[in-house]
Subunit: 519 residues, 2 copies
């Protein structure tokens, strides 16, 4: 219980997402802490962070070694004096235990838990117990509200001046590979003069998230302050929500959930909404892809309760949601994987012949709906304006501004984006029309190839739904940079049926393709 001052010293150690600091064993005895314990690092009354403590015999004196990345996060400098003492959070732990046993939690309990998640005082095992509780037990909408609110309040929040309003936004429930519509919707909306600060996610189980693809063209990791500055300049941004200080609890919990791939409803609801509330969103279009190729919703009714709850919860935070249902039988666009998806988006913006029409179509339609929903224009007018701005490359010009504002090279061209060197072809064994491309298989193969970890790995779809193919035609190519993996992929491709090919297209698909031609 003796108070000992420690001198902060940065060290070049990377510990994933773990908060770890090191002190000497002698000093650990002095302050009654053990290795592996969670301790507070306290600079002053307003600055206290939790971290796991390890002991390093190489340290002499009262130094605490803190990894550089934590120094930045906690705004500490070499030479700062801090106190170190054990974390005690019995109320938080007993609330988590009660949730595990199925009890409802109140606002204060939920806030305290989320605060502990963010300030590092709750161990990752503790977070896993909390996630378990909400995975198994029922939850009330009240709890979902408290949870979202707590996640917002324990991070930064962007407050927009009236002149930037209304704040538009877009979200997709995901599950469809490629689908890089945000990289087209954001410059469309911004080129029309409307504000759209898009916080995107990285891939969790998919071959690329919007943040991974955008990162091929520019930086995506910014603080709330930086995001605000970028958007005040360009009206739009495409940044990584998880890299910002907006609702940071979300990212910590996602990492734990990801271990078992757990998607409990309340955590998914609060995860999406907390980022949006913190970013100041007011009008949001919510993409709901469904159909045989959607791993999350084969049928609309699979997600109807979820959507109702999302809309209801969003309204409590003043966000109006427009649910956009879209029947989906294939990945959107042709490229799958960060680089190939970024190339697709650029191709649409620079109006290349090879651009994926379905990606363009969906982006245009959704932008139109979003603008009309926010009552900025009527649908017809919005559609006309969007088409014009796309054709005269004002949308592309806007994207270049955004890329530049995010620290990228605005002059990058689709041809600069070269996929990995090893190419594996997947050929058709049948003749007919492509009716379905199974997204789940495309995602899995692209991930085996190396996406999203290796940005240039992935898949390029040579044939899309509606195309007529002959036996031996190349349906898609897989790109990877490792011989061993190439062999694994060849074996995998033999085992799977990824394309559904029919003598004639179904009515539903035909209608979808016809609709696209009209716009």
């Amino acid at each position: 219980m003796r108070k000992v001052k420690f001198i902060v010293k940065s060290c070049e150690i990377k510990t994933g997402k773990d908060n770890i600091v090191f002190i000497s064993p002698k000093y650990a005895n002095l302050i009654h802490v053990k290795d592996g314990e969670i301790v507070w690092i306290k600079k002053d009354e307003n600055k206290k962070f939790g971290s796991k403590l390890y002991l390093d015999y190489r340290i002499e004196g009262n130094f605490v070694l803190i990894p550089k990345i934590l120094m930045e996060k906690w705004d500490l400098d070499d030479g700062d004096e801090v106190e170190i003492f054990p974390v005690e959070i019995p109320n938080v732990l007993s609330a988590i235990k009660r949730k595990l046993y199925g009890k409802r939690l109140n606002e204060e309990e939920i806030f305290d838990i989320i605060k502990s998640v963010v300030n590092g005082s709750l161990s990752s095992e503790g977070i896993a117990f909390f996630v378990s509780g909400y995975t198994i037990s029922r939850f009330s909408m009240r709890e979902a509200y408290y949870l979202t609110k707590a996640m917002v309040e324990t991070g930064e929040k962007i407050v927009w001046e009236d002149k930037y309003k209304p704040i538009l936004d877009k979200h997709s429930i995901g599950g469809i590979p490629a689908n890089r519509i945000s990289m087209i919707i954001v410059p469309i909306v911004a080129s029309l003069g409307y504000t759209i600060p898009k916080t995107a996610s990285r891939a969790i189980t998919s071959p690329a998230g919007t943040a991974d693809a955008m990162e091929v063209l520019a930086n995506v990791t910014f603080t709330a302050k930086e995001i605000k500055k970028i958007v005040e300049k360009t009206k739009g941004c495409i940044v990584w929500g998880g890299g910002s200080d907006l609702a940071p609890a979300d990212d910590i919990m996602i990492r734990v959930r990801h271990i078992l791939k757990l998607d409990p409803q309340i955590l998914v609801l609060s995860s999406i909404l907390s980022k949006k509330v913190a970013a100041g969103s007011e009008y949001m279009i919510l993409e709901l892809p469904y159909g045989p190729s959607s791993p999350k919703a084969k049928k609309l009714k699979d997600i109807s309760t979820w959507v109702d709850r999302f809309i209801k919860l969003a309204s409590k935070f003043g966000i109006k949601v427009y649910p956009f249902k879209i029947y989906t039988t294939e990945p959107v666009g042709k490229g799958v994987g960060p680089l190939l998806e970024a190339r697709d988006a650029l191709r649409v913006l620079v109006r290349e012949e090879e651009r994926p029409i379905d990606l363009e179509f969906k982006s245009v339609i959704m932008s139109t709906h979003l603008i009309a929903f926010a009552k900025l224009m009527d649908e017809k007018e919005a559609l006309y304006e969007i088409r014009e701005k796309l054709e005269n490359k004002e949308v592309y010009k806007k994207m270049k501004e955004i890329i530049k504002a995010q620290g990228g090279d605005p002059n990058i061209k689709p041809k600069d984006l070269k996929p990995a060197k090893i190419e594996i072809e997947y050929k058709s064994k049948e003749e007919g029309y492509v009716e379905i491309i199974y997204s789940k298989d495309i995602s899995e193969i692209a991930r085996i190839a190396g996406a999203p970890f290796f940005k240039d790995c992935g898949i390029y779809l040579e044939k899309k739904v509606g195309d007529y193919v002959r036996k031996g035609d190349v349906l898609f190519k897989v790109y990877t940079n490792d011989e061993y993996i190439a062999n694994v992929i060849e074996e995998e491709l033999k085992k799977r049926k990824i394309y559904e090919i029919r003598h004639a297209l179904s009515k539903k698909v035909k209608k979808l393709i016809d609709l696209r031609k009209k716009i």
Copy 2:
């Protein structure tokens, strides 16, 4: 996916119970692993261990820095060559997920999970999810059997030659502070020539476990091989089960359970039994303290299902269990905390006037029952022999042998064991007979004082149940070594009612005290 050889180098870092190794960031890129990832450290086909990987920029070349304690555990030497590559255990993770959703697991699934717990390939969050599953979901006795079996099979097992049999043992469901009967029962049984390899636990929520108290007199951390050697020499031992390689999964899971103080039935059953099965036990006396002072069982029926299941499960592993029910209204013995409890036990053995009679009584009775239960003597004969060996100090002599075999000083005397310097008295506000001493409060105060972390901290009960006290009499003393804590304790003592004092004793307590006098 490239195979890179790493050179093992030990480092003096202590990471609690976490498996952590360090490599250079350059080499991490080369083998496609990220900081925070769980990786295999593989020496050869038979030697593979899981660890979390951190990156240290100070490391140059293909070295992997491994904490000394892990080097010993994994039997690695400086200069050894190992391979490092990512852990992938999808089957284990999906089984854990299924358990979280309430499904039953089969033998293979449970074995694979426990194997991953032991070899380090399952993250601590993954273990928390597993514990959550068994905390909330129902379990079958079949699952309890598989789990116990897996915990035994993933550790060492002691096989005893026939000349040492039968193998006796003792276990208590716990909850009563002090209660250091094992430190008397073991030398009693061993002095009669019977084998009793006692694996004890450390305190989890109590002020001291048997292992903590025994550690005041001798080492308690031994491998299965070492335990066998000690017992072959002395017939008995008192070692820390959690420090051995007997059922190591248990200790890892206890650490995670302890975060929320979770005691799910199946994990408690398998925890106790796995250690006993691995130690080769055949006849066990199971102490079941119940009554107003027992935090675990106010009434016997509170634990009757648990006891039935324990006996049933034990029988599947060939262990015969004698349930010993004992009504309890106070801590057993006078000292509470590692040193004070060890002193109590020594006082009984050396036959000091001040020795706690209740501790002696209980130890003698339980030893008698255990020996009779194993059909080694009849009860009368056993009781007579035990009394005689206690009185002529043969039991003490045996304890000295055990202390010596476990690396302690056999000549240690009760007076050598001095409690911490700051002494706080707790005085009676009433006059009458002590009817109940609340164990829960005694435990909590002793822990605040510093037990078990500081061995010399704790409580000494001046008055016990049955004693007549006047207003102002000292009921107990608290020992601590920190002024600040002393103040906290004084405040705590004001708030609590720890002694139940009555004009006359209840019949039940009177009977208990009379019984003691007869033996």
